[in-house]
Amino acid sequence: MKQNNKQAHKFGMVIDLDKCTGCGSCMVACMSENNVPVKEDESDKKDSITWMRVYKLNNNKPFPETEICYLPRPCQHCSGKGDHGHSPCVSVCPATATDYDYSTGIVSQIYTRCFGCRYCMGACPYHARYFNWWDPKWPDGMESYLSPNVSPRMRGVVEKCSFCFHRYQLAKEQVYYDGEERIEDEAAYQTACTQACPAGAIVFGDLNNPDHQVTQIVKPNPHPEHDNHDVVGKSRNPKVFRLLERLGTNTKIYYMSERKWVRKLGDNYLDGEWEKADNHHGSSHG
């Protein structure tokens, strides 16, 4: 259990940014699925909580060359340097309120264990974690709409995307009932955002299962990269990239785009670095 093994799942996601229309359905689905409280002023980004957040990117060019791209950002579920499970947030949590599950590759967040130091929020390179400044307040009558499968959070704790882990738990119950060993069927466990996306831009599945669509699109390289041993699971698809990939956080959210400028925005490249990275990717995969 302490390390990745062949039996283990490695759930991940690939988001096609060329398909994403920025409609925000994933954000809405996520909030209602996971009992995320709505704030009086949702535009106050210091207070609002968005496990899944759609960012708007543009290519910074004047009309008529202006292009826009929307980038949905859930928790990236980092596997950490060398794929060993040392995610940035997990490494710093003094309360062990967040851990890396080697059997699913999911980074957990245990609200009852968290005491709100927010060290993890500082450590997360993706701003995926949110702090509850207030107790949740739902409009009258809405409490009865809450999902019983997700525990609501109180003020003073950090929360984040869990890859709809409760859905994995329910899928697992079905597997036990049917007397099977593990979840093989791709459709048995899907996140709320994946199902809500009207454009079908999000594909979710097990990156360790070659039958799953996500693996077929991403084609992750199981070996560490030659120039940076911290990076494992880099996509062999030249259109696919990860956010701040060179940090070695080894995120399990992959993004896909035909457009070069979008791929370039996935990391902070110094002058000349992007060309090198782009050529390298291009040459090694023809």
């Binding site: 259990m1 851990d99 599950d101 245990i110 019983p148 738990q169 329910l170 697992k172 119950e173």
Partner: protein
Amino acid sequence: MNEIEKTEDCCGHGGEGCSDMEKKARDDKGLGMGVIFFIVAFAVCFLSGWLVFPKLLYSSKEQPFNFDHALHVSEMDGCDSCHYLREDGTYNGIPTLESCMECHDVEPLGETEDEAIFCEKYVATETEVPWLVYSRQPDCVFFSHAAHLNGKNPMDCVSCHGHIGESEKCKPYEENRITGYSRDIWGKNIWGIKKNPWDRMKMDDCAECHLEETGHQGACFQCHK
């Protein structure tokens, strides 16, 4: 003579030394009283902490009416005739009124007083019985009955729930006034001594068994939600 000598001796060294001695003597007497006071106060605090505090901490509630498990088990066929896994693998827990009404009707089947209450108050008005669940875990806990019943090492109901199937009376439901959790979670024994596996069901108890059976306590998300 001695006293006079002492006094003289004292005075020989000056008035200050004398009053110091007296003070010391008085202080010693006070120390003895202090020790007694400490012991008494400690005993009072200790006993009230261990005997009175649990009474204050837990409220005691009675079930809406008594449920005779032994009678039902003998009439029916084991626990799973009422408590069963649904087809999607989730657990039905305490049966709804609908399942009770598969056997029960407005007219009582037997002659017990409790059934009369049940038929009159709940069946006739089609109201769900507000049972108090002894084994209800906090809402951050995910427990899969399917994993424990249909997994690699299937378990008996008794291993966690005890011999509730043989009980004729429902015990009072004790609720922690601060957390709202059932006392069965923390356990009855104020010393924290566990004689049977079902005496309490805290996270450490789950982890203990998981470590034994699977070799690992499991990741947080295995049981948390």
